[in-house]
Symmetry: C2
Subunit: 279 residues, 2 copies
């Protein structure tokens, strides 16, 4: 505290930094105390060293790595800082884009959970207006209804990997689904047509992107793929009984997958749906 020298603690305090950080910086040679007692090995700093420490903290705040900072300070080359910063700028922009996606995904998920808690009980039939949706889809290569869940899993994987292959933003689907042609549905068959994931409205356009029109849908809720056949049948019966005219393809939509806690089973909350026309 005397004359000119600052102990490591004092230096740390006035610079809002921790003592151990200062020691680390000494060790890696970022900033060395101007004097080190040879016997006690105590470090002593000079207040003029704040200039350098400021620079370090400033560059750190710009997201530079300690290694880079060291290089810059050693080389004294402003071109070097500039090239690092230009690169860093790109990085930051990417990070922001990712965070934006993440934020959207988090919000969707929270909503999805809310919906899950308030959703009707299994077997409930509703008639609801569903706004338009955008999907990223692929035709199913085989009718997975004829096989087990394994085939469905495979198709889903392929869909996901196609997203990755095409360098598209990953959706991290909690909202996947499958479609089936209206005709198959009306005949009481189960013939898968397409598998899809829901995407945001601003998802980049491509051949695999389709729009599902808004409209009134007759829906039935269930919680396992295993019951799809039975519930699809009930849905069809309901439409017939009430003379609803099926106006488009059948959709099996995963509303939420957050019941996946069981080790192996995709415990889901599903909504089977067909668009209906009231002439």
């Amino acid at each position: 505290m005397k004359n000119e020298l600052l102990s490591i603690g004092e230096m740390a305090k006035i610079n809002n930094i921790s003592v151990s950080t200062l020691r680390l910086y000494d060790e890696i040679g970022l900033i060395k105390p101007c004097y080190t007692d040879k016997e006690s090995r105590y470090r002593y700093y000079n207040i003029r060293q704040n200039a350098r420490l400021d620079m370090i903290q400033y560059m750190k705040a710009l997201g530079m790595e300690l290694k880079e900072i060291k290089e810059v300070l050693e080389s004294g080359d402003t071109k070097l800082i500039e090239s690092i910063l230009i690169h860093r700028k790109k990085q930051v922009k990417e990070q922001m884009a990712n965070l934006n996606l993440q934020l959207a995904a988090i919000s969707r998920t929270i909503e999805s959970l809310e919906r899950y808690r308030k959703s009707p009980s299994i077997g409930t039939i509703t008639i609801e207006y569903i706004p338009h949706r955008k999907i990223y889809s692929m035709p199913t290569s085989i009718n997975f209804y004829d096989y087990g869940i394994e085939v469905y899993e495979n198709e889903l994987k392929e869909l996901k990997n196609s997203l990755i292959k095409h360098n598209l933003p990953q959706i991290y689907y909690c909202n996947a689904g499958t479609t089936m042609k209206k005709e198959s549905f009306l005949e009481g068959k189960l013939e898968s047509d397409e598998i899809f994931v829901l995407v945001d409205d601003d998802f980049p356009q491509s051949d695999s992107i389709k729009r599902i029109e808004s409209g009134m849908y007759v829906c039935i809720y269930l919680d396992s793929f295993d019951d799809e056949k039975e519930y699809a049948k009930r849905l069809l019966e309901y439409c017939r009984e009430n003379n609803y005219k099926v106006a488009g393809d059948y959709i099996c939509e995963v509303l939420t997958e957050f019941s996946v806690f069981d080790d192996e089973k995709r415990g889901m909350f599903l909504r089977l749906q067909v668009p209906v026309a009231f002439r």
Copy 2:
């Protein structure tokens, strides 16, 4: 590749994940292979386990920690996910705000470097229009011109710490400066009045925030605080010779500090300036 079981490599491939990550997940109990050969210790997975792995990757993509994911999967509590996500949402928003600040700082710095490279040589006198600026300032507690650079360093530290104390976004100033009353300047004295850092236009308003009006300034460039006295004198003489009427307080502005590579000295690029009126 036979019947049902997938080797770790196959599982990794279809899930776009690395083998070592799968091993890690096994170790920490996030997802265990459905069968482990007791002799060879080879891990084998079932494609149905994709459901769980999807959930894991999904939650990871939302920014959750592996520990949190594990808790969620073990508890099966959707409320838990929700509370984690709500917390995470706040985090992400903060991160984005920080990245925005960072991006702005990076851009400012790149500009500053550009300016540095194209700046006039030492001693050049210019008459330039300077747009309005916003500063966060504090009166200097003593006239640091009477003392050495140490006192200036101290004042600067206090200014910085006052930013931190008031929980204001840190500027990480590369643009600090000091002001002096017009009267002192005209008398040829050096009497510090305020010390400041430049802030963005959208910096939160407070008592310490002031606006420096735009206008024509007579400026002189230099690269060391040590020369301030001499160059300030030249500036004054120049104004007198040309009959420029000094219209406001004197400012000593640090344009860039990127010449700080020397261990101790604040090697700067400075611009002394006084606003002038052309009646």
